[in-house]
């Protein structure tokens, strides 16, 4: 009798905790959706007078003139996307090969501290990267790297023109350094997760470590690495302060990466506090909306790419 009542109590308790758990799960999910939706609605509402005033021209105009209240976002969209692309190409390359080295080749005494150092980079505040970029990296790029690239590959339009120091190129490199830890940390996990059995199978067939890495491990980890890059790209797109400090803040589209440019987040950071007219504030909020949309779009494209390009090659 006693044991029966005890059992009943036990059952009921677990059922109640189940219910709490479910409520928590639904609540958290709902809250998350509500926050994203609320953000979108708020941004849209805030930018309505700008959307009304400029319409589609906001996306195609290159003029950003607070004095005459004429606003166009094209150069900032361009600057945001291109600086992030430079960053992800560099960070992807360095991050993936660095992770491969750390997991498979580096002696343990080197790998642990090195991995720790790289991950420490993720904890450095972005303003520090900005200062470093402005005072150390930009002068070096301006004095050595950019003239070298111009001398060797000057026939490419992206390396032509006057060398400023503050540029799309500089911003891309600073962003790359900032997102390398993300790429590298996730890639390390993904590589480590590529089944040990595949690694052993390859070794047992007489493949060297490099051959195993190149032919088995990296191909097997493509989806995960791609995911890491998408995550890192998200950070690069939204990065504000470091970019602002090194990109040159010029709302213009130039073929050369050595020219100053501007990003969506930077304009907002630069001008929001001193923006007084309603239309000006609204235009700045619309930039925020665009950043939101650009981030979603990049993520979406990345997802579609993962599905269409990577999946069939992988299995089935």
């Amino acid at each position: 009798m006693q044991s029966e009542s005890h059992e009943q109590l036990h059952l009921r308790r677990s059922r109640i905790s189940d219910r709490w758990f479910m409520a928590g799960v639904y609540g958290a999910t709902g809250l998350f959706v509500a926050i994203v939706a609320g953000l979108f609605v708020e941004l849209y509402a805030g930018s309505s007078s700008s959307i009304h005033a400029f319409g589609f021209k906001f996306l195609t105009s290159s003029h950003w003139n607070p004095v005459t209240n004429q606003f166009g976002a094209l150069p900032m969209i361009y600057g945001t996307v291109v600086s992030s692309l430079i960053a992800i190409v560099l960070a992807g390359f360095v991050g993936v090969f660095g992770a491969a080295y750390l997991v498979e080749f580096a002696p343990r005494a080197v790998a642990r501290p090195l991995a720790f150092l790289i991950e420490l980079l993720a904890a450095v505040p972005s303003v520090i990267f900005g200062l470093w970029g402005l005072f150390i990296l930009a002068p070096v790029l301006r004095a050595y790297v950019e003239p070298f690239l111009q001398a060797k590959f000057g026939f490419l339009p992206i390396f032509q023109g006057f060398i400023f120091g503050s540029s799309l190129f500089t911003a891309g490199i600073v962003l790359a350094i900032m997102i390398v830890p993300t790429v590298s940390a996730i890639t390390r996990d993904v590589i480590a997760a590529v089944a040990r059995e595949h690694r052993e199978a390859s070794m047992a067939l007489g493949a060297t470590r490099w051959e195993t890495m190149a032919r088995v491990i990296l191909p097997g980890a493509t989806t995960g690495i791609f995911g890491a890059c998408v995550l890192a790209l998200g950070r690069a797109l939204g990065e504000t302060i470091a970019t602002t400090m090194v990109i040159g803040n010029k709302p213009a589209i130039a073929a050369s990466l050595f020219q100053p440019a501007y990003t969506l987040a930077s304009v907002i950071a630069n001008e929001f506090t001193e923006a007084t007219s309603d239309l000006y504030v609204s235009a700045l909020i619309e930039l925020g909306l665009l950043l939101f949309v650009v981030s979603l779009a990049v993520n979406g494209i990345a997802r579609v790419l993962t599905w269409t390009v990577l999946r069939p090659a992988k299995a089935r």
């Binding site: 070794m203 047992a204 007489g206 097997g220 992988k314 299995a315």
Partner: protein
């Protein structure tokens, strides 16, 4: 209950006649001498001296954790991949110490292949799986690769089942087919020794039977070493059996002899099911 073991290959078939115990041992392909393996402080394999004949199947049996897999992995320097593992003593292939100075472990593994407990095909097509090894070793001619693929799959008794879908993913095959694919992949690099680590333990009886047939057929061309926890399997496919316990090799001899007249009490206890 221990009585009804069957020795199908030992009692039947023209070339598989049971040899009398007195027959001289076939020439040794690989041999270990005083082999020790440590994992950090743990002494996993203790002074094992064993000869593994060419063109025969040698089975390593024993309870879980007895060190049989560890021993197997020492035979093709697989422990090189585990930083905390240490190997002492000698392992020879045709008389050459594979742990000796100037020996390339990659070349060792090229000549001594391995098939693992869980089928581990790469997430690639069937064709790419089979020709992975030859490609790594520099074979680029497509015609040649196609031939190797067919030859290997035929040898692995898989050809008929997959010949129409060589370009579809290996992951779509059944467990037993995947394991035979792994064997085919191994055969494609033309090793001299094939090590098998419980190759059928994850498979159903039908698939297991096919793998066992295959193992037995392989002894025509290769030295085969198989680790198994199944005594029936050892009895069915092997010519020689060695019994491992707590890192030591307790007994070795022709399979029929070890199973019917074990010399050591512990072997007998294990075989009769008193522990393990």
């Amino acid at each position: 209950m221990p009585a009804p073991y069957q020795f199908p290959y030992l009692v039947g078939g023209a070339e598989t006649l049971a040899r009398p115990a007195s027959e001289p041992r076939p020439p040794s392909k690989m041999a270990t001498d005083g082999l020790n393996v440590f994992y950090g402080q743990f002494h996993a394999i203790k002074h094992v001296t064993l000869s593994l004949p060419d063109r025969r199947v040698s089975a390593l049996i024993g309870p879980s954790g007895c060190g049989k897999s560890t021993f197997l992995r020492a035979l093709n320097r697989m422990h090189d991949l585990t930083p905390e593992a240490r190997v002492e003593g000698s392992v020879t292939l045709d008389g050459t110490d594979i742990y000796g100075p100037g020996i390339d472990p990659v070349e060792v593994r090229h000549r001594i292949g391995m098939v693992f407990q869980r089928a581990n095909p790469f997430p690639k097509s069937i064709f790419e799986n089979v020709v992975f090894g030859p490609k790594v070793h520099g074979e680029r001619r497509h015609r040649e690769l196609i031939e190797i693929c067919e030859r290997s799959l035929v040898k692995a008794a898989l050809w008929d089942e997959v010949k129409d879908r060589l370009n579809s993913s290996a992951l779509g095959l059944s467990g037993g087919q995947q394991q035979r694919l792994c064997i085919a992949r191994q055969l494609a690099v033309e090793p001299e020794v094939i090590l098998m680590d419980e190759p059928a333990s994850a498979l159903d009886p039908l698939a297991t039977a096919k793998i066992e047939d295959l193992i037995f057929a392989l002894r025509r061309d290769y030295a085969v070493v198989i680790v198994t926890h199944s005594m029936q399997q050892a009895a069915r496919v092997s010519d020689l059996t060695s019994f491992f316990l707590l890192g030591e090799m307790i007994e070795t001899g022709p399979t029929a002899e070890v199973f019917t007249h074990p010399t050591d009490r512990r072997t007998e206890d294990y075989i009769t099911g008193r522990f393990g």
